[in-house]
């Protein structure tokens, strides 16, 4: 096991990692930006170093200062959390160059999964079904012929893409030429790489993802799936649950199976998530996240496995202590993301000071938060301030528990998603478990 781990993150996930380390008897070093000096993650770690000012590129993405902190404090590993440097293959390599274990998969796997075209090709090789799509398109003529093969609507995407840049929805053949030119130009401008490819557009699919764990000896298990279809119009997840409701057992088995096969094929190690679109019983691989995810607690609650501890153990060279048959999902868990944003104003992020806070407690409730009365919410970072997770022996019990937990929650000083999450839980779509990525935007009366 490691002696000391540097936590290259902030907020609730930094606390989450600190908890796992402390429970494993591993010392921790926090890094923080100037406005985060009074944060809980700074207070809870054994040591803490300021690595830069508020803006992310100068602090939480400041690789030299983070690596230097790890070296001068005698760390032997770095946990990147999610976001920031978590899927930065170059950072993983730099860690290795300095004798630090990056807690995550090998840099080459991070890089491969970070490139959408490569990821898709590898998944295809592994027998994982992917969205019908093309390689890099030679031009608009090829685009036209492949689009009529898939059937409209189709999606043009930048191979270097992310964040919707270089992406175009094409609903009719007439729109194709203009869309192709636009996507290419935007990709060139955004990524200095104008190459685009095409995919069949799946309308209002479900977003179902599979959690995997793989050790460095090649043992792979899945920990079931999560439904993350309740997404804001910006595609950010808001409410997640495990297991996915109303999913045919054949589909569930197929997803789990594909996830394990993908890991074996790619030589994956550590924790990871394969995201799939599910539509009418068909499943399509979307992307693989080579890190811990925000919504990992719902899986932890139904499987009784501490995923972050597992990440650390695996990175330290330990083998998985169980096989697939030992893993049984029990009950149901739901997570609500409590964001400092105004749902009545397009989820505009809120900065400010949290005046009063009461988080829910009691049986079956887990709260992961870095916020307390008096916390300031700097404007530089993600607006998520807490995750409330409710566990129940059944989905209905979990929903009832989450509803009372949200009712108990009191946050004064900033607008939050507390009441909005309660509204989502109250919709017939959510209660029936028959919702998809279009459901929440439809609730807001806005098209996706």
């Amino acid at each position: 096991m490691f002696r000391k781990v540097l936590i290259a993150n902030r907020g609730e996930i930094a606390l989450r990692i600190n908890r796992a380390c402390q429970e494993l008897g591993v010392q921790t070093v926090a890094v923080f930006s100037e406005p985060d000096r009074e944060s809980l993650h700074v207070r809870q770690a054994d040591e803490a170093f300021c690595v830069g000012p508020g803006p992310v590129p100068r602090s939480y993405l400041n690789i030299p200062n983070i690596i230097s902190t790890a070296l001068i404090t005698g760390c032997d590993a770095v946990h990147p959390g999610y976001g920031f440097l978590a899927e930065n293959a170059r950072f993983a390599e730099i860690c290795a160059d300095h004798g630090l274990t990056f807690i995550g998969p090998k840099p080459s796997v991070i890089a491969a999964m970070g490139d959408k075209a490569t990821a898709k090709r590898m998944m295809h090789e592994a027998g994982v079904s992917t969205t019908p799509g093309t390689g890099i398109l030679s031009g608009v003529a090829e685009a036209r012929s492949r689009a009529s093969e898939f059937g409209y609507p189709v999606l043009l995407k930048a191979t270097a893409g992310g964040g919707g840049k270089g992406m175009r929805v094409v609903e009719r053949e007439q729109e194709l030429e203009r869309a192709f030119a636009g996507a290419t130009a935007e990709a060139e401008a955004s990524f200095k790489d104008g190459r685009v490819y095409m995919e069949k557009l799946i309308l209002n699919p479900r977003h179902v993802e599979v959690q995997v764990l793989a050790d460095e000896a090649g043992n792979v298990v899945h920990l079931g799936e999560r439904d993350c279809s309740m997404q804001k119009p910006s595609h950010q997840k808001l409410v997640e649950e495990a297991p996915a409701p109303n999913l045919h057992q054949d589909v569930r088995d197929m997803l789990h199976d594909m996830a394990v096969r993908a890991c074996v094929h790619t030589g994956y190690s550590n924790a990871g998530t394969l995201e799939f679109l599910v539509s009418d019983g068909a499943v399509y691989f979307m992307e693989m996240n080579t890190r811990i995810q925000v919504e990992h607690p719902v899986t932890e609650m139904v499987y009784g496995i501490d995923l972050v501890k597992e990440q650390i153990r695996i990175a330290a060279g330990e083998r998985l202590g169980y096989s697939q048959d030992d893993l049984v999902a029990r009950g149901h868990a739901i997570e609500c993301r409590i964001n400092a944003e105004d749902p009545r104003n397009h989820f505009a992020p809120q900065a400010g000071t949290v005046a009063k806070v009461v988080f829910p407690g009691g049986p079956g409730i887990r709260v992961d938060t870095h916020v307390h009365a008096g916390s300031s919410i700097p404007p530089y970072y993600d607006s998520m301030i807490a995750k409330i997770v409710a566990y129940g022996e059944s989905r209905d019990a979990a929903i009832a528990r989450m509803e009372r937990a949200l009712r108990e929650t009191l946050i004064e000083g900033v607008h939050t998603t507390v009441e909005f999450c309660a509204e989502v839980l109250g919709t017939p779509e959510f209660r029936s478990g028959r919702y998809n990525v279009g459901s929440l935007p439809a609730m807001l009366g806005s098209a996706v």
Partner: protein
């Protein structure tokens, strides 16, 4: 109910909190044997406000800063350069006072012009974080 278990300091803190959350400019509390007044000064164009003791004066320009801090702009090990700078030393010109060793590199810390070294604020050989004051300089 305790009669008055709060110290004056605590009560001033409550008033300061009140003041910060309102746009009042002055709060005065009287009791038999004492009087507390907490006020804040609002610059005409300011967005920030500072609680301060009242001196009854209007909002004046603050005096210019005479002492500044040379801070670490990266994380590493702080080492004094040769010749060793000392507290009280008068520097006539810009000069390298120390360096921060990080990732095997020597990143110089310069005096940023002339002045007197008031304090060497970090220990030779210590780990320093971003923004940590290394030298306090009197710019005269």
């Amino acid at each position: 109910m305790p009669h008055d278990s709060r110290s004056i300091g605590e009560r001033v803190a409550i008033l300061a909190a009140f003041l910060a959350s309102s746009d009042a400019v002055r709060v005065r509390v009287e009791r038999d044997d004492e009087e507390i007044e907490v006020a804040r000064y609002v610059r005409s164009t300011a967005t920030s406000a500072t609680p301060a003791r009242s001196d009854g004066a209007a909002v004046a320009e603050p005096p210019p800063l005479r002492v500044d801090a040379i801070k670490a702009d990266l994380v590493g090990i702080f080492r004094l350069s040769r010749p060793l700078p000392f507290e009280g030393e008068l520097l006539e010109d810009d000069r390298e006072l120390a360096f921060v060793e990080a990732l095997g590199m020597r990143n110089p810390v310069r005096s940023l012009g002339s002045g007197r070294i008031v304090t060497i604020a970090a220990e030779d050989g210590a780990a320093v974080e971003y923004g940590q004051p290394l030298f306090l300089m009197d710019r005269g």
